[in-house]
């Protein structure tokens, strides 16, 4: 049965259409996958009961009967959305996020909610108030983060797809760590209505899957304009699988970001497997050139400032008055706020919103926030200039493979710097996919690389990623023991 566990959505759809299996049997199968295997990796926060999952079943639509899971910061009506935080432990959403509504309409079955870093703040899923999710390739290691549960569940064959969110790398880094495909869309292409906000100008919902085709398929059901999100772009729904021919665009020009490959701390095995990936694309007909982006050295700093500032503002709403956790035994309203937020938020969240209030405060806003916004403009300009010369960019998703649980408990700044290669795209608002490109020889851990495009170049990114994938075996490899 493990063949079914690692079947692609495309294959599962065929089985359903040929009536080799019914949607209920498929649901039973994947619920059993969770009960048998999730104990090893602890990806889920809640697996829903069969009856309530089927309440939303819609026999029509492109994902009819295909099970998936959601990161715990995306609203589903009647379900808890805790953001892996104690402060929202019992919060039940009163409405569906736009992506939830669209997936339900497409016939997809939502099996549960999966673990993440608290309020999506972290790079290892260790800041969750509930549990530490493990990497299916090595359970002594983290799955990455913040969407670690979404990546681990897909990598372990517990579901064929999941949703995550990416503010500075939270889809792409865990995708790379777990050896799966993770897509971060153009800012504004995916509705944020019903996504609990971390840094609103950077947050995007995106898809995890084991193949590029499956990613494009799920993406097609949820991308596109939404009136409920005022930052939503006026882009119609599209079929992002249409261009997946296995061929590259005629005359495709690719730039390899040289600064990233030679960056300090870059694992040599990762650098060489990305060189090999570039070689594959060249063989397929791409014109490759080296490009330099020295400004990347400043993007993590700009990202720290902008994301923390927005987080401080967004998380001000959690006050213990209207919903969620309230600390008991406070004599005054003011003390109730202080105690509720002290006891309800974890350490990482408190630190980030403290940083945010510092960089926004009188006397520091000019030095930090305003300068960070200027650097963001420089980053946007630099990408725009480079995309006059090349169609797509390639760089590592991450300078190292999945690290051990607890590795950065002491050195917090190193943990913060996990976003180094991924946050520039959030700052520029451009799309990027992370796809598998090999395994390390020393410890058999997955390696991923990013294909980055200009605004709304998702079709070109998918076309290129698919062509690469068809030439390589990485998407067919799965962790032992699942």
């Amino acid at each position: 049965m493990s063949k079914l566990a690692f079947a692609t959505i495309k294959e599962l759809k065929e089985k359903l259409e040929k009536k080799e299996i019914s949607h209920e049997e498929l649901l039973d199968f994947f619920l059993k996958r969770f009960s048998e295997h999730d104990g090893k990796i602890e990806s889920s926060l809640e697996v829903f009961d069969k009856k309530s999952i089927l309440e939303h079943y819609n026999a029509e639509g492109p994902l009819c009967g295909i099970p998936g899971v959601f990161k715990d910061n995306i609203c589903q009506v009647g379900r808890i959305a805790s953001c892996a935080s104690k402060i929202l432990e019992n919060y039940r959403s009163t409405y569906d996020a736009t992506v939830t509504r669209r997936l339900k309409n497409s016939g997809a079955l939502i099996l549960g909610r999966v673990n993440c870093d608290e309020f999506a703040m972290g790079s290892s899923t260790e800041t969750s108030a509930y549990k530490k999710t493990k990497n299916p390739w090595d359970v002594s290691r983290v799955p990455g983060g913040s969407s670690g549960g979404s990546a681990a569940a897909v990598a372990a064959g517990l579901v064929p797809w999941s949703l995550g969110s990416d503010t500075g790398g939270s889809i792409r880094q865990p995708a790379a760590f777990c050896g799966v495909v993770g897509m971060k869309p153009t800012y504004g292409l995916m509705s944020r209505y019903g996504l609990v906000a971390y840094a609103s100008s950077l947050d995007q919902i995106g898809v995890f899957s084991r193949t590029v085709y499956d990613s494009a398929l799920v993406f097609s059901t949820i991308a596109g304009h939404d009136m409920q999100d005022s930052s939503s772009l006026f882009v119609n729904k599209k079929d992002y699988t249409a261009n997946l021919t296995g061929k590259l665009k005629e005359g495709l020009r690719i730039g390899v970001i040289e600064d990233a490959l030679t960056a300090q701390g870059m694992d040599s095995e990762i650098a060489s497997s990305i060189q090999e990936a570039v070689g594959v694309l060249e063989k397929l007909g791409a014109k490759v050139k080296k490009v330099s982006m020295p400004i990347l050295d400043y993007s993590a700093a700009a990202y720290f400032v902008i994301s923390r500032a927005e987080a401080a503002s967004n998380l001000a709403r959690f006050d213990g008055v209207r919903y969620g956790f309230r600390s008991k035994d406070s004599d005054t309203l003011h003390d109730m706020y202080l105690n509720t937020r002290h006891d309800g938020f974890g350490q990482e969240v408190k630190t980030r919103i403290m940083v945010g209030n510092y960089v926004l405060s009188a006397g520091h806003a000019g030095q930090f926030y305003e300068n960070a916004k200027k650097v963001q403009r420089l980053i946007r300009r630099e990408f725009k200039n480079i995309f006059n010369d090349v169609d797509l960019l390639i760089m590592p998703t991450h300078p190292m493979t999945a690290f051990k649980i607890g590795a950065f408990d002491v050195n917090k700044l190193q943990m913060d710097l996990q976003d180094y290669f991924t946050c520039p795209m959030n700052l520029a608002g451009i799309p990027a996919i992370s796809i598998p490109c090999g395994f390390t020889k020393k410890d058999n851990l997955p390696i991923g690389f990013q294909i980055i495009g200009s605004h709304l170049s998702e079709e070109l990114i998918y076309q290129t990623a698919y062509a690469y994938e068809q030439e390589t075996p990485w998407h067919t490899m799965h962790p032992d023991g699942f």
Binding site: T94, Y298, T332, K350, S361, R380
Partner: protein, 93 residues
Amino acid sequence: MIKISRDEVLKIAQMTRVSLHEDEIAPMIKHLEGVLSYAERVQEIAADIEEPSNKNVNVFREDVVVKTGAEKILAQSPEREDDYFVVPVIIEK
């Protein structure tokens, strides 16, 4: 290197509406100093350019009431009385 004083961290905590216990103050200072000292590099290259910071424009839609049902929302409050949220005293005696 950014230095944060004890008074400063308590002031930020106050703005953040979060209490800091005595044993949490020193680690918080250390963490804030680390992040801010790194973030400070934005001022090295910050420059005014024409590039707009984003392409967003104001989006308007009809202001239509969508009824969710107050009960579902009130039911989630930590403490309530009828249709009101209950909070501890606002003005100290």
